[in-house]
Amino acid sequence: MKSLAELQAIKERALKNMTARNDSEDSTRIVVGMATCGIAAGARPVLNAFTEEIARRNLKGVTVSQTGCIGMCQYEPIVEVFVPGQEKVTYVQMSVDKVAKVVADHIVNGNIVTEFTVGSVAK
């Protein structure tokens, strides 16, 4: 059984491990479109996959957040990646299967996964 006492223990642990968070300029942001169009197209599992992959790899300075309709509903689920000092990259028609590759190639190694971007898909 999950108990609130257990939560207390997690808190103590988290407090020890929490380094000063920098959710500001120097963090990479992954933004998932979560309006009606995005949700209907499967944005929720995509968002979960990102947060789980970031947690699994224990990546610091990477935040996952949500936004509204980006305006290209037919290409949902849409994910925008903002790496500080670089141009925004827009991934379209995302799926859970594509998430690990985006995290490994783009977020960790800095190589944009061109075949998933809006530029390649929307001709």
Binding site: K2, L7, I10, K11, R13, L15, T36, R44, T51, G68
Partner: protein, 184 residues
């Protein structure tokens, strides 16, 4: 929408856009009557009577009230196609209450789906808001309240991965108990 849990996520986004600080989500089954009630209640900016009428109409909205589009009409369709109903009560400056009633024995009943996932996304993506999730089945119920969790956690945020995992396990476990599954 393939699952009602996705409609819940979608409607709750309206509450967030409406600036709500507290969003309550209720999922209540009445097995004797084969009914399911889904309620999303917020203390956001609320709507005028005219706006309430308009959000029910998918062809009116998008441009003028950008915050609401197809969301409510889709949710209403999901309820009405089972023989159920959708109602909205709203008051400017007070908040909005969206209630949908489903007939679960209808062939057109959309499965509830992964409500846990919806709740976790809402909580972890909006740590500045509070959520109270209540799941009921006949006389039994359980609740997860971020107001209570924040009291315990202090400055540790709810989107900390280990906390998110705890909330997910907690809701799943409590749901299983409620539905008569695992009880240890």
């Amino acid at each position: 929408m393939r699952e009602l849990s996705l409609n819940i996520l979608d409607i709750a986004q309206n509450s967030i856009s409406a600036g709500a600080s507290l969003i309550e989500i209720e999922v209540a089954e009445n097995t004797a009557k084969n009914e399911l009630l889904i309620g999303i209640y917020d203390n956001g900016c609320g709507m005028t009577e005219e706006q309430v009428r308009n959000v029910l109409d998918p062809f009116y909205t998008t441009r003028t009230t950008r915050k609401v589009g197809m969301g409510i009409p889709l949710f209403m369709l999901a309820a009405e196609q089972t023989g159920g109903t959708l109602s909205i009560e709203s008051e400017k400056g007070v908040g909005t209450r969206v209630k949908a009633l489903f007939k679960t024995d209808s062939i057109d009943f959309t499965p509830l789906g992964d409500v846990t996932s919806t709740i976790i996304v809402l909580i972890t993506m909006n740590t500045d808001r509070d959520f109270i999730y209540t799941r009921k089945r006949d006389e039994q119920s359980f609740e997860l309240s971020t107001v209570q969790l924040k009291e315990i956690l202090g400055e540790v945020p709810l989107n900390e991965p280990e906390i998110a995992q705890w909330m997910k396990d907690y809701i799943n476990e409590q749901t299983n108990i409620l539905l008569g599954g695992v009880t240890q």
